[in-house]
Symmetry: C2
Amino acid sequence: MSAAQADLNRRYVLRERPAGDFQPNVLQREAEPIPEPVAGQALVRNRYLSLDPSNRIWMGEGESYMPPVKLGEVMRGLGVGEVVASRTRKYPVGARVLGLLGWQDYALISPTDAMVPLVLPRYVPAPMTKMLGALGVTGLTAYFGMLDIGRPKRGETVVVSAAAGAVGSIAGQIAKLRGARVVGIAGSAEKCAWLTGELGFDAAICRRDGDWRPQLADACPEGVDVDFENVGGEIMEAVFERLNHHARVVLCGLISGYGADGRAAGSPNVSNLVMRRIRVQGFNVIDYLPRFPVATLHMGVLILLGRLRERHTLVVGLDAAPAALVDMFHGRNIGKLLVQIDGTP
Amino acid sequence: MSAAQADLNRRYVLRERPAGDFQPNVLQREAEPIPEPVAGQALVRNRYLSLDPSNRIWMGEGESYMPPVKLGEVMRGLGVGEVVASRTRKYPVGARVLGLLGWQDYALISPTDAMVPLVLPRYVPAPMTKMLGALGVTGLTAYFGMLDIGRPKRGETVVVSAAAGAVGSIAGQIAKLRGARVVGIAGSAEKCAWLTGELGFDAAICRRDGDWRPQLADACPEGVDVDFENVGGEIMEAVFERLNHHARVVLCGLISGYGADGRAAGSPNVSNLVMRRIRVQGFNVIDYLPRFPVATLHMGVLILLGRLRERHTLVVGLDAAPAALVDMFHGRNIGKLLVQIDGTP
């Protein structure tokens, strides 16, 4: 059922906090009349919703870079949509916006929102989906994480975990463009084939293989200079053991620990960090906001030139979102996982 | 008995590798005829020997930034001395040299040694002991660790562990000079009184107090922006829990773990590192060799101006060195621990 037909706003609210892994029953589907903007607000028809590992973080009360979603509130999610009614000049009708639009058909936005929704420039010819992928926050996370923190040099070895994911697949390609040797760790043979076949990774290791550890050793005969870490846990620990002197660890995410509200995401050998003079750095792309315009331009050029490829897993219908998020934590998507909000699953 | 009287070279060689904490019986005292330099070598009369936590690392086979001392070899140690015989123009008789002279009365040195001994410039009026303390490698470790990696800003809170030690006491003062609020963690009330009374630390916490954790919380009401880490283990973990967003951790040393060949030196909460965007960086001063001259000049000026104070614990006689090293691991020295080689303990 599409919301437009029913003149209702479908929305998923957080009913309870997940204990452990995400389960769809912590979200409750509701339908309310489509809200009307008051002065200073605009109404957005949401088109695409981004599903990300951070969704699980936001549901919990563990420490995060943003406050948790309150119980009874619409589930937080990054999305793109079009302004369909407006009482603010900042967001005119017809404008395409990117922001935390939430798991719903319609969002009320305002220039005073904590995370101010961005108006997408009209001169950017990219489809909306790109703005949630390589040309959006996902791509910029890979960009700043790899270039600012990882800083791979020509000939160095870079390992990317969750390499077939939205961020990892871009991060690895950026390292290749910098002349590094790139090894991806991913969750299936299909993903590994995509990494080495289409994206140009030098090697890819399936973490479900019984011998992934010796495979990792074989793939990194000269050790690891940059670890772009998306996973944590035993995979991170195994990569840490192979870090070279002066290696850099980009702590981008620790998806293996999110089911435990962020704890138990691995214990690196601190002694090695001293002896090998390693830098381990947590980061979040929101700290790079002032540099988004130039970085987006840079990424846009790389995409136009065909130097950066991306892949989406597109799920149709907002009602398919909860199950798709479960699938993501089981590693079933390749590339960016997006929900096309309007449609029947 | 002084070696000069007996015309013998006393030396301590590594007889076996310590299992766990350092015990003097892993070293064996020997006496050999004073060696004679061959072409390209110089003979140094050692004057002062530096005792450092790294001595324990060098005795073990755990990973290190230098190869372990071989069994049967003279124990490695940084020292200063005077050239008394020479067959190389690089080290003329009378020159004062700084290098890995070892636990012995006399050392043969050569410009081709792995760690090339430095000739101390004649125009530096500092006594030899200063060259092993604030004006030497110890001081430079504090200098580069705090300024290059910690980078404290005015008003930020800096915690220094082993704060009354050789490096910690200098590191804390450098942070004060940068306008930071400095909290030291040390092993006795006497040390704490020295830190706050003479060195100007804003607070000092005795880690042997039963309530050191709440004391740490009270001393850092606005969290911790820089952790200059010399200890590891539970002290490091407690400081990590209080790190602010964008905090920096200078991994200088992990003395609490050295008895276990570097393992078990603590497990930081990696999830916090991501969420708070923290940088953890291992470092070793030897990577900064090209910048030693300017940094030494800078430190020298600060010392001359009375802006940096240091304290030595001077032990008399090479034969007192093994027991003094045990004492150091029990935290019994204040400031830099030095052995005046010639003399009777």
